[in-house]
Amino acid sequence: MHLLRSPWKIGLGLVLPLIIYMVFGIIPIFISFYYSFMAWDGFSAMNFVGIENYVTAFQDSTFWLSLRNNILVVLASVLGQIPIGLGLALLLNRKIKGAKFFRTIGFLPVVISTVVISITWRMIYNSEQGLLNNLLETTGLGFLQQNWLGDPDSAIFAILITIVWQFVGLYFIIFLSALQTIPKELLEAAELDGAGEWHKIVHITLPSIRNVILVAIVLCISGSLKTFDLIYVMTQGGPAHSTEVMATYMYSETFEGLSYGYGSALSILILVFSLILILITTKVMGVKRA
């Protein structure tokens, strides 16, 4: 590290990124906070209404429904993506023919744009021409056919499955790379002691990648809190708000319902909820981030 004696040079170096980051990343949050105390349709004059928007939100059953769905998305991601990804990584972490192929295909959905994935899965779930119902029909399981996204009872689960599908590969590869950093000697020594496969996994493999698993869980939570595109494209939060998450609800309240004040309050609630959840998990699990 060098001591720089000319502070203006540091300023010159940092000014551009800081300005862009502040103006388009941080300040909008404060603007949001300000508007969240207003009643405003986006055109006419604003009215200060105090905390009324927040009170409305807490009494709004759709808001609670969307919060519940947000929690479901987080749960499905953490309980689906992480264990499946870990299981697959443990399976592939050996000398195996075609390992590279399994990796490549495994990660593929992660790089595809969410919009493409959402439209594809919307077609898969379509009740008449969709892949899923067609498959059920041909395999003699026709009685299981559903209007997957059209029925409020099944829609959210159909969406959760798509979300798990989209990101399993990410955790699969994260865990696989972590597993490959475990020294071979450690496992060989255990083998000589007569440790079985299961014993090795529980007592050596998993403890060695403990920190990666914890970081992956935090990543998974913060990632799943960002869900918007997928639901917006697949169902727009419908039918009957059954797949609404806070972000889609905020979008429709603001830009379709033209309640900018209420939308801003919802934005702030999203932010607060996300940060609290991430803070709690990081604290509880004692993750040390670099």
């Binding site: 170096g13 990124p17 919009v115 493409v116 595109d229």
Partner: protein, 295 residues
């Protein structure tokens, strides 16, 4: 156990060996079955979509699972013309590339000062920049819309470029700072002796050495921009300025009944993505996972 003892015991040892061998074989087969199943579940939806893009509507309804009876290309023509995919493609490349350029250049400059120099407030600035990783983008949609309106750049490329830079700076600064910190301190000493300026050292010594991390950062930035949907949805309504994800979503919404045409549109976007992925797999995967593995 090398058996040179009584005959029956030797048999059991051999037997045990055989049992162990079959067991191992069985386990191996099971591993393969699971991995192949996973691969099918992962790849088949994509394969299904691409295959059906080459079918007539009739062929699709008769034979939805397999290869087309006859390969037709009209759907692609349809999609290309009606969906304006060429325009969206151009917009996505332009916005994506411009944002990457600004984000990498300014991010690298910031990372340089944050990693190679000691000054007051350094830790705070670094933390302030990196905490942006945790901000859920859509929490800023409403104010961003109002801000862009006030700045008079709503419905221009800039309305997307600025937020894309802002939301990619945290990961860029994070990656580049940790990479630049790993260089030994002596790195630029002789250059300082020679009287090179701070910016000269950045440009001709540090930046070239950071190339691998920059490549990773460029890829992550570009993929994020290429796939971004929420800002585009809110900030761009002019169809001539829409990016691919937004254009595709609108196109698919308008063509809900004609599946092969929808699929052709998606395929046109998907194929370049897949090719890019296969060509750059190592860098892409590394870029998208290294935060977690090293974290």
């Amino acid at each position: 156990m090398m058996g040179n003892k009584a005959e029956p015991r030797e048999m059991t040892a051999v037997d045990r060996d055989a049992v162990a061998k079959t067991k191992r074989k069985l386990r191996r087969t099971l591993v393969y079955i699971i991995l192949i199943l996973f691969t099918i579940v992962n790849a088949y939806p994509i394969f299904w979509m691409i295959m059906n893009a080459f079918k007539t509507s009739q062929d699709f309804s008769l034979n939805p699972f397999g290869l087309p009876a006859q390969w037709v290309f009209e759907n692609f023509q349809d999609a290309w013309v009606t969906a304006n995919i060429g325009t969206f493609f151009f917009n996505s490349v332009l916005v994506g590339a411009a944002a990457v350029l600004i984000s990498i250049f300014s991010g690298a400059l910031a990372a340089y000062f944050l990693s190679r120099f000691e000054f007051r407030g350094k830790k705070f600035i670094y933390g302030f920049l990196v905490i942006g990783l945790l901000i859920p983008i859509h929490a800023t949609l409403v104010p961003m819309y109002i801000l862009m309106q006030n700045l008079g750049i709503l419905n221009t490329y800039w309305a997307l470029i600025f937020p894309y830079v802002a939301f990619n700076l945290p990961i860029t600064v994070f990656l580049l700072t940790s990479f630049m910190s790993s260089f030994p301190k002596e790195m630029e000493e002789s250059a300082i002796m020679d009287g090179c300026g701070v910016f000269r050292i950045f440009w001709s010594i540090i930046l070239p050495m950071t190339r691998p991390a920059i490549a990773t950062a460029v890829i992550i930035n570009f993929i994020n921009n290429w796939n971004e949907f929420a800002f585009a949805l809110v900030l761009i309504s002019d169809e001539a300025l829409q990016t691919l994800p937004l254009g595709l979503a609108n196109f698919a919404g308008a063509y809900t009944t004609n599946y092969p045409a929808q699929m052709a549109g998606l395929t046109l976007v998907l194929v370049p993505t897949i090719i890019f992925y296969l060509l750059m797999e190592k860098q892409i995967v590394e870029g998208m996972t290294q935060g977690a593995v090293k974290g």
